[in-house]
Subunit: 228 residues, 2 copies
């Protein structure tokens, strides 16, 4: 039987292209979405289901991790902290940082993957364009893969796939376009639910990627600055 891969699917562009790449590898797909209390959760969840429908994925799991909001200290989850406007040249850790978020996500994914006897977990982390999140780096994922190996049953064999980690955003756009990934179903904006704001970090990185790739982003935007 075709082995499962559990794909982390936030509904954003990077996770969409990661899913498209994992699909192209021949895995049977299971899609995992985390609600960690972010402002745009309902819009991201709609994107998750639309993308799953597109790829005919029936194994879907949505997990509420709102405790990460309670643990706090993040503008993504705490309405009292204003989201910073995009500054792609800012140094250091941005205020949208949710402490150790990817480890929480991967731990849940691994629990599910072990139950499904999956052979892989795929996550769309991007090291270069990741705004400095420490848990988006290749070495973090390799260390976590070792934790999976040691912390699961002896017959469990789960590879941790990070197929876009060393790609720039424009390369992600091109790879997605080659695979006919449904970009119109994805959602990246941190701040709005109706149309994308075009100004938050996530919109800026996405728009710059499309602009540098010379491909039109099919999503509607409130404003569409030139970032490239």
């Amino acid at each position: 039987m075709t082995p499962y891969a559990v794909v982390l699917l936030s509904g954003g562009m990077d996770s969409l292209v990661t899913l498209a790449l994992t699909h192209a590898m021949g895995y049977r797909l299971a899609a995992l979405h985390l609600n960690y209390g972010q402002r745009t959760e309902q819009r991201e969840l709609a994107a998750f289901h639309a993308i799953c429908d597109h790829y005919q994925i029936s194994d879907r799991l949505v997990v509420d991790v709102a405790h990460l909001a309670a643990i706090g200290s993040s503008s993504l989850t705490d309405p009292s902290i204003a989201v910073e406007r995009a500054n792609l040249h800012r140094q250091g850790i941005p205020s949208s940082y949710v402490p150790f978020r990817n480890a929480n996500i991967l731990a849940i994914a691994t629990s599910w993957a072990e139950v499904l006897s999956a052979r892989a977990i795929a996550i769309g982390a991007v090291e270069e364009d990741s705004s400095g999140y420490p848990d988006c780096r290749e070495e973090f994922f390799r260390a976590f893969e070792r934790v999976i190996e040691l912390g699961t049953k002896p017959d469990t064999q789960i590879a941790l796939l990070t197929p876009v980690i060393h790609l720039r955003k424009d390369e992600i756009v091109r790879r997605g376009a080659e695979l006919n990934a449904p970009f119109h179903l994805s959602w990246s904006c941190y701040t709005r639910n109706d149309i994308a704001c075009g100004e938050c970090d996530s919109c800026a990185l996405r728009l710059r990627g499309f602009q540098r790739a010379g491909i039109e982003d099919p999503l509607p935007y409130a404003v569409k600055p030139q970032y490239a």
Copy 2:
């Protein structure tokens, strides 16, 4: 200022003694309790608060991780699977296994620890008496410590303390007794909420520990077989 240690406090004997040992090391204590949908949650939560009261710990966090029950495949979280009676000589992974539970717990603990600027996380895992859970082994925790190092901010320094990991249960009882740990406030039974059953794996391991240490367990039991 005295640095925090986040202590995982299920309310059982091992976590109680871990807390007592971390207290003796001089850390300021913050206590974290996870509700992962186990049968005896309310009783364990009562033990958690009683132990916190005893040690005058005001920084308490209780996190619901019932999604681990949804992900399932465990007799601890699925009422449709009978809890196995104690068999301390059984080989392999018991049916009470929650896949990758400790990684989920440690990920949450690390998120909180980073917010608190804690210098340590303490967990009462026991390698020898742990019924074969793969994520109770020393090498798993050392690998996770590396993940913490790589996945948190550069100025975050969190040690992962496993002070009872190489102790037998009778040694844990003796260490706790030396430190006047309030065993009467702890709870270990997997199956009952009123008095301990005396027959589940957890009761059997606890009772055998007390019996081998030659110390009376102050908890009331339905039956109290001789395991030593």
